[in-house]
Symmetry: C3
Subunit: 169 residues, 3 copies
């Protein structure tokens, strides 16, 4: 249904101290990869790194500036724990914020659990790429991805300079 | 229904590369002007300028600091295209952000189309003026204006130092 | 119902020019204090200070860095009046923003009154403490507190480094 016609490249970046030490299976990252493949995106990169702000910044820049990946989905590090630093790394990486995507994900999750209001994930644009922060839990990541998946192809088309009528901008 | 008692001045600033070259009719800007006139506001300025960050910053400052217009409504440049730069210009102009107005516009539009989550418009205060970014499409601009119109008179009264009970602050 | 098992400390900071001069009874601050006591929190501090940005910054830092209070609830100064400066003070104090809590409070209030979109309160983390801005009016403060109260214990547990499963991060 949301299969993309043009093959956009994507990468998954999992932020997890435990995951990076091999102490926790990355079910969320695996799910996101599978879901995007099914949706017609072109897989390019997957990695698990610790919740270190500088590492996150460098990884995102590498995926976008060097590898020129169109869509980078992160999972983890969006909560309120001392280690959760993904949104702060995003602030240093993105050139434009897309607050409505983050708001829409939280609003949808809020219908399931009030704890969704603690999710601090951001969505933003760097160059011609879109970065979306999903929560680390599989259930929350799945719910959130469901919310934004329908608009990603259009977003990427516009981000890359497409001029089709958007109806919103 | 939402007719303002006190006559607040307003200006419309359309951000559009095509519009500024005369290649596209500015139906949204015309609509906004008409709607605010009908609502009892006092028209002062209308212009169409290209999606150039510095130009937008200068125009907003001119309208507010020089012309002392109370309400500036922009249309266009709120999407995710490379040229869409209105929110980034706003960041340099506004002294206080009013995130709830932007959230409310997006939430209302989201009921109509999931693409509303790509709208990045901001609302903010500079001096004693309110600046509201609306999307560029006529349909979206109309829908969004409908959402904020009822609260603008009260917002302007408070921004200008009015001390009536607000019920929210 | 939302009684906290572990006793978290809390402080109430009321921002009000009139209140600080003794010209206005602080019904909101009194309500917040009473409500948190009933919910099982450990009262530590209550003060009323004027809407002065530097004073607010200093007070918040004092409550958190010196007094090590876990939860600081402010009331007032979140509107669009020239004196309303609480969100701007927050920007200088918080290390991490929790936008979802502010969004959820506004979304809930919006069901009651469209003026809720003018509420500019922020929620954020400094060190191991959570700061929540509530509006100044008793009705709005009560409504907003109701929205966030259920998630505060979990938020504080995580902020302090607790590792229980959150379901969202």
């Amino acid at each position: 249904m949301h299969t993309v016609e043009k093959k956009y490249t994507f990468g998954v970046l999992t932020l997890s101290d435990k995951g990076s030490r091999g102490e926790r299976e990355d079910t969320s990252g695996a799910y996101i990869k599978e879901k995007l493949l099914q949706s017609g995106y072109d897989f390019r990169s997957y990695s698990v790194i610790p919740d270190n702000k500088q590492r996150i910044v460098e990884s995102l820049i590498e995926l976008i500036d060097k590898q020129q990946i169109a869509l980078v989905i992160t999972t983890g590090g969006t909560g309120v724990s001392p280690t959760d630093i993904t949104p702060e790394a995003m602030t240093e990486v993105i050139e434009k914020e897309v607050p409505g995507m983050a708001e829409a994900m939280r609003a949808a999750s809020l219908l399931k659990t009030s704890r969704a209001m603690l999710s601090r994930g951001k969505v933003g644009i760097r160059g011609e790429s879109l970065i979306i922060n999903l929560p680390g839990s599989l259930r929350a990541a799945r719910e959130n991805l469901e919310v934004v998946l329908p608009v990603i192809p259009h977003a990427l088309e516009k981000i890359m300079g497409g001029t089709s009528d958007c109806g919103i901008d």
